[in-house]
Amino acid sequence: MPRRLHPTPLLLLAVFSLGWAARPASAQITYTYQTYGERGVPASGATNYLVNWPISQAECDANEPIRMVVTNAPYDATGTTRLEWDLWQGGTGSAGANCQTATNRRPVTGSVAVCSARSSWSGGGQITSSMPTLTFRPQELFADGCDGASQGAYVFYVLAVSARGDTTTDVAATHYFTFSVALDLQPPSAPTVSDAAGDRQVVVSWTNNTSETLTGARVYVDVDGDCEGSSVLVAGAPAPPGLAPAVTAGGGAPTSASVDAARLGLEIGQAVPVAVTVLDQAHNESVLSNVACLTRVPVSGFWDEFCTQQGETDAASCRERYSGCSVGHAAERATPWALWLVLGALFARAARRRGGAR
């Protein structure tokens, strides 16, 4: 009996393709932003606002740019395809200026408009990633500078997408978003770290002592210190400037990290001071936690147990006996692969025969 291709998968594919092609334009502007490259977490806005994005003093001092890319700006409410767009920037201040309103975009006699057009784009249809990147610099946002006077202050930028040169109609609610930043000079509370022991990879664990949103932690190991009190690590003090963290853990609020004791040059039996700091969203670093002790100790696992069981007292000879060449010579090691090649050939032949039978 001749086999026929069932139409269901093709129909599903066709329906999916049609649906994809005819998908409606998004009803919401989306954007990506990246503040201070070090943060390295470009976020995508699922809402039309981003409020009080924290900027640390270090970021403000460095005046690193905050980049923002507007994407997926939809067609206007009437469905008319717009070929040219303006991106408006509202004024600074705690309230900002709403560039949705046409009058804020319109120059007043003898004065300038409250909102300014930061960027224009043309090319037809939706704004895509080809939209020029907007760049803000912290010192541009904080008129008072980066000192404590600006702490907690925030600046609103109301960005709106309008038809090019349009200063007569209000911008639709779905065509704008607000963005504000806040200078955050308050570091998070220091964590509490526990003693750690292990062989090569030693797991250091700690408890976070803050309800603030954390973004990472740094583990400092003083390999020249000792656990009797001689160390550059001091509980409650800032991390020593000359000491690089042994590990920087990311991904939210970590509570443990693995330290490569062998790479740090620790000998078996050596105990060194370890302390941890945590980072908040603005990358403010806490002071050091309590100073705990990291000890490199010999650790045994299955292989050590097995070698002992087999009467092998020397780990190297045990490994030599069973590891790598455990099936003897190279030719013997190749046997499994050769057999699999033969099996593969047999299956290929079977498949051809099966195909010919249809």
Partner: protein, 249 residues
Amino acid sequence: MRRSIALGIALAVLALVSLPRGARADEGEQERHERSPVLGEWSTEPLFVPSPESLTLELRVGAYRPDLGPAFERAFHGDLGPLVALELDYHLVRIPYLGPLQFGARVGWVEWTGDAVSSTGQTNVGSTGMSLVPLSALVSLRIDALSRYLSFPLIFTPKLGLDFGYFQTGTSGVTQADGWSIGVDWGLQLALELDFLEPRAARRLDEEWGINHSEIFFELFGSTMGSFSDRQLPLGSSLAWAAGLGLTF
């Protein structure tokens, strides 16, 4: 444990998906042996011609613990894996009144983990683990005569073959040893063919996808990997089990 549960759920879902679906009344499907619209007579066309059946595919999950002695028990505390595997068998020749003689290949994966121990007896100092990739070449006799001739949906399959196991073991994130072991593999499988649940849907599965039969199975098996040489790690197991879903096509 969570891995085992997840695998069990995945297997159950696979079994459910493969179950023949009930016939839908609105399709108005008719059997081919009905009156021919052209001739007005009973057609001599066969009622149902199954597609060629030459392969068996098995999705397996089970428990496997190698006979490595007390060292394994101390390090892994009776960890049973699980072992997940995929097996494909080719029907070489059908032996009359018994079933097809098959040759096939199986590839699997299993990992055991436990706590490393420091010289002072501390256990929170890292982990130790071992993983095994068993590769098998098998000959088996799929005795499906009960199902084919008596409509009794049980299939027995004895298996015999060669095992090639690649192991890797380490502690505290560092690989300590790896290598190969060879041995003989045996197995005895009992399968329940699912066609009897929805015969018409099973036929449709064959017509549309070429899947002749689906079945669930339970298998007892063992291996002598590593027992032929004192330079091979004894990775064999005197008795292990696997269950899963089988498809013939």
